[in-house]
Symmetry: none
Subunit: 213 residues, 4 copies
Amino acid sequence: MVKTKSKKDKSGIYDRILASAIKEFADKGFAGARVDEIARQAKINKAMIYYHIGDKESLYTAVLNSTFGNLASVMEKNIAWDKLPAENLRIYIQTVSETIRENPQIPPIMLRETASGGKNLPVEVVHSLTSIIEILAQILKQGVETNEFHPASSFIIYFMLVSPLIFLKQMGALIHHQINILGPGNIISQWPDDIAQEIESLIFRALSKKINS
Amino acid sequence: MVKTKSKKDKSGIYDRILASAIKEFADKGFAGARVDEIARQAKINKAMIYYHIGDKESLYTAVLNSTFGNLASVMEKNIAWDKLPAENLRIYIQTVSETIRENPQIPPIMLRETASGGKNLPVEVVHSLTSIIEILAQILKQGVETNEFHPASSFIIYFMLVSPLIFLKQMGALIHHQINILGPGNIISQWPDDIAQEIESLIFRALSKKINS
Amino acid sequence: MVKTKSKKDKSGIYDRILASAIKEFADKGFAGARVDEIARQAKINKAMIYYHIGDKESLYTAVLNSTFGNLASVMEKNIAWDKLPAENLRIYIQTVSETIRENPQIPPIMLRETASGGKNLPVEVVHSLTSIIEILAQILKQGVETNEFHPASSFIIYFMLVSPLIFLKQMGALIHHQINILGPGNIISQWPDDIAQEIESLIFRALSKKINS
Amino acid sequence: MVKTKSKKDKSGIYDRILASAIKEFADKGFAGARVDEIARQAKINKAMIYYHIGDKESLYTAVLNSTFGNLASVMEKNIAWDKLPAENLRIYIQTVSETIRENPQIPPIMLRETASGGKNLPVEVVHSLTSIIEILAQILKQGVETNEFHPASSFIIYFMLVSPLIFLKQMGALIHHQINILGPGNIISQWPDDIAQEIESLIFRALSKKINS
DNA sequence: AATGAATGAGAATTCATTCAT
DNA sequence: TATGAATGAATTCTCATTCAT
């Protein structure tokens, strides 16, 4: 994770800019975001953004780095390689789920970056995301070696975990809105309560060799 | 699916505008798309867009309708309710996969619409997407009744199928680019060949009650 | 001379923009010129400049081309190679003088371009200016061959002709302003009446081999 | 020459600012110069410029005064009124030439000041420049009285000396660049070696009454 | 004196939309 | 229908100048 932030930023202006930018870019995407609006929400003079961080693109890069740059290290902290693969997988899934819950900007930004093919992702971010998948790959490999798991592509397992969490998180508002329109009894009222829990069960059933109930 | 398209559009100008708009909105999103560019690629005068379709928003709505408006009917055509649930599920997955392959604008547009919470989706589109999930719900319900499937939320199964397909499709270019940078032997070289096939297997293992190999 | 000007520009908007830009760039230089002001003086909407010509730099290039692009052809029209060298030199000097008188933007623009080392001059302009000096070189060469002229560097003769004309033209206002301040009898009141005529005499005395009065 | 410079400026900050400003204004002109850049190159804090000198305009005035303010006194030191007019003229020309060579900021600044009509020149500068011309006028007057020189406008002689030197100095880089492009054998390769020497000869031939070789 | 931060008024450029023909 | 031109409201970015410490 790259930080241009100066060390004696006492007023926290850098953090205010970044927080405001995260919200704006998450809400509207790069093209839709307004530098004026970021300044307004950060309650600073617009020129300060250029003074402290740089142009819109640099600002966006700062947002990407701050959002995705250290995800891998969080995961590494939680995973312990002497644990059983199933235990690690459970931790992995929960860590992903919690990270998304605690960083609501992740879903929209990741969705839009994926939409544009991730062409502009900073290398640090690509590296961080790659590392996270590598951790999953390692867990799966151990599980296969201990004969607990079926072999499976770590990429696919990763995205069967992460992308539904992201999609469902983002769709939540729409869905509940629809329930109100369509009324209960409708299919939409089958919206699951604990999404992460259900996904975990399904992934375990898909991977585990022992018969699951 | 709503069509403003006049019936005597012999020159095909409406279709040219729509095709160009689909490409532009898919590539750059609503905010990033340029009306000038859509006109240029459609090889028509910019004012014609306003004459034939309306403003940028109407144009985007037309794109959404044309892209997502009749997905449900395609699915309905392929599913037959006298077939076995497992067979229908297989068809369902393949239909989704083929639809995405044949409509490359679906992933980016769906990702960005999801990012913005789908707030601006036309009702027809919401209805179409809802219908597709209802079809899946029906298949799953039959499978539970015949004791073939574990019960599961159709929403979650739907997004565990669709969203990885979309993510992986969009990430393809980035991933292959990364392979070239990081070299083979890297985790990224484990990119799966037949994504849809692997996802199908995993979903079946997650759902099926009989012991899977 | 390059013209981007479309051929059916009936309202003459291109010419209005160009005329206004010539004035503004001549008065304030590239950095000091204001696109808003150019639009205001041309009585057109600012965006029209971008529509018809392009950005500030393109506009400046258009000004340079229009001002300097065809100077050589004017000179070529006036010089006749069957005339005597002295006659051609006289015509040359008068053509330069008249060109400057009729194009008051030439002195300030040329001064500022010279100040910045001419680094950004379009090739057409460099070519045109080079051609003009080549014509002088040819005249001088003929004069040397007919034993009328002393040999001399055409570059130096050129600039001993052109640059004093330009400087004195620009200084005129300042000088007369100074006369008013300092009063007559001052050195400044010796300001020459017919500058071109005096320069012509001096150049002829400097070049001619026969004794001059 | 006016100096705001305080006498206890031990750190030489005033001189550093001035040197940096001279370079910046010479390179880019008043409108193109950046106060930030001047501070950066002087390696001082930007606010120090305002503290020590004042705003951009004051800074520019300081540059003008420092560059042009004492030119007349240098000339006065070199000219001796008991020498022959021809000798003094020779010294005059050489002094001008050397002054330009030793103060490379003079050509660009003088060119741009001339371009803008010298409207903003401080009175000291105008006075200094006027004095220099008066010295030349005196030399010429003596030459006419001793029957050595033809009568001539001192303004014109002055600018036939100074302005070609300035133009040719500034054009040097461009010209040599052009030689590389156009190749030798081209007119541009006739670029003179000792410009000042050639100009001196020409001016003497133009002024002298005795027949020159 | 000296510094980093802050401010506000521009200045260039873009772009959706409309108009005249 | 079709076109090129026109418009005006943004939008990004810059820069001289000032402030607080």
